[in-house]
């Protein structure tokens, strides 16, 4: 019997640990923001405006990553911005995952009218341009953290639904599903105990990817000023503000961008790494 799965090499080591390390820093920064940020992220001091990062001439001690045009400390704002990013990643990511995966499992396993209904809904949903859809939704729901999370869930569930449905369809054709029927399992039990364990690795990989995407979507909405009120620092908001002074103070734009980039990348790598490490089939 040909089975190459045993010969796939595990190479999760470095990227799993690197991504886990960055995510730990990210989560700790978010949780301990008031304790560890060197300055008040909202405190303005026009005398200290556009200070460069610590290693460039003209820097003021204590402002490690410089200040923006209003004299607010960039590092402190990034640390506080992590809080919004973390909340959005966890809540929006998980809610999107639950909604999309449940619908995908139902459509792929039960087929029939449920599948037709869900699949058409996905087709219609995906025909909307996502960013415009998000802006439209925020316009209707009003700005605020809840609206942002809701908008992400409403837009992105199709991502899960399509992939999970396809994977469920695949798995449903396997003999072990027939075998469960012969053993007298109910349909629901077959779905929960036989199919779900086989779709779960895909769901987890998608979930971590979605957490990264949620952070990006929040940043995009902040960028177009439709996210959270301006008195709360967000990475997207910082990038938007930094854009106006990019020639005078590049650090206002670049550092939140790096934080965003590393976080999104780490989420995706973390998911893949987890899958490689803990999936009994790949292991």
């Amino acid at each position: 019997m040909l089975d190459g799965r045993g010969s796939i090499r595990r190479r999760s080591g470095a990227r799993l640990w690197l991504s886990a390390a960055w995510l730990t820093v990210f989560v700790l920064a978010a949780l301990l923001a008031p304790l560890i940020s060197p300055h008040d992220p909202l405190a303005q001091d026009l005398m200290l405006g556009r200070l460069p990062p610590a290693w460039i001439a003209g820097a003021e001690p204590g402002y490690w990553l410089g200040t923006d045009s209003l004299g607010r400390d960039v590092l402190s704002r990034i640390i506080h911005g992590a809080r919004i990013a973390l909340v959005v990643a966890l809540i929006a990511g998980t809610a999107t995952c639950l909604l999309g995966s449940v619908l995908g499992l139902v459509a792929g396993f039960y087929r029939g009218w449920a599948d037709r209904l869900i699949s058409r809904l996905v087709d219609i949903w995906m025909a909307f341009p996502p960013v415009l859809f998000a802006i439209l939704l925020i316009a209707v729901l009003g700005t605020g953290l809840t609206s942002v999370i809701l908008a992400i869930v409403i837009i992105d569930w199709t991502r899960f639904c399509r992939v999970v449905r396809a994977e469920t369809l695949n798995q449903s054709k396997m003999d072990y599903v027939h075998s469960a029927k012969v053993a007298g399992f109910t349909r629901l039990r077959t779905l929960a105990t036989e199919i779900l364990p086989n779709v779960l690795p895909t769901i987890i990989a998608l979930l971590t990817l979605e957490m990264g995407i949620a952070v990006i979507v929040e940043a995009i909405l902040s960028f177009v000023n439709l996210s959270i009120s301006t008195d709360q620092p967000t990475w997207g908001g910082m990038i938007a503000e930094g854009r106006t002074s990019i020639h005078q103070a590049w650090w206002v734009l670049v550092f939140p961008l790096i934080a965003l980039f590393l976080t999104v990348l780490s989420f995706a790598q973390f998911g893949d790494g987890l899958r490689e490490r803990f999936d009994p089939v790949l292991r």
Binding site: D3, G6, D175, S179, K181, G184
Partner: protein, 267 residues
Amino acid sequence: MADNRADNIFEVSDLRVDVADMTRKPLFGPAPRLEILKGISFTIPRGAVLGIVGGSGSGKTTLGRTMVRLAEPSGGRMLFDGHDIAHLSDAAMRPLRPRIQMIFQDPLSSLNPRLTVGRTVAAPLNARANDPRVGEALEHVGLPANFARRYPHELSGGQRQRVGIARAIAMRPEFILADEIVSGLDVSSQAQVLMLLEKLVAELGLTLAFISHDLSVIRRLCSRVIVLRSGEIVEDAATVDLFERPQHAYTRELLDAIPTPDPSVRW
């Protein structure tokens, strides 16, 4: 055996199965029906081992899947221990399921890749993987008890098929359908699995239907053989008679297809 049980574990009469023939479906309107099984009748007495042979496309796998009600027949009757199961709903079929088990052709696809062997064998029993019945079933098929912690992809083909057998017999069924269970194995594993099945039939008093395209495998195991061609039974005979005096030309064709050490000697 209790007195109220039927003598024949299976009584199949005029069984018909058809499917939609999508290759000849008109642009509008329903597809024509294609008959896979065209009125099949046979019985399986309690304790017998019935061989079902036929070439590709003869309908033997469809027959098997219909008998364990993975498929629904379009006509005819199918009595299992006196109950007509031909058109039972999934829910009505469920109480009978533990009594009818199946061993699948492809042991890799029929074992859930993300469940350990122990959980696979234990699940139909509604037991935990460390239930004594799991160890007992594994022992019956000649696997050490510590295999319960392994995953299917860690096993060889023969070992996987043993797990498939263990799962079927752990339920203590009255009837087991074995669908081409050795065709994916190499010759030495084939012989081992067949020997195992012979032993289990004797030890556990199983009634078995054994589907195969290979008559040499059937000869070893079965007391009676039905030969299928294009959805019809062309011959239904005791194994000895079938090999000594094949009545139908198609049976002789199948017999001639068995490789023998000396081609000039017939079976």
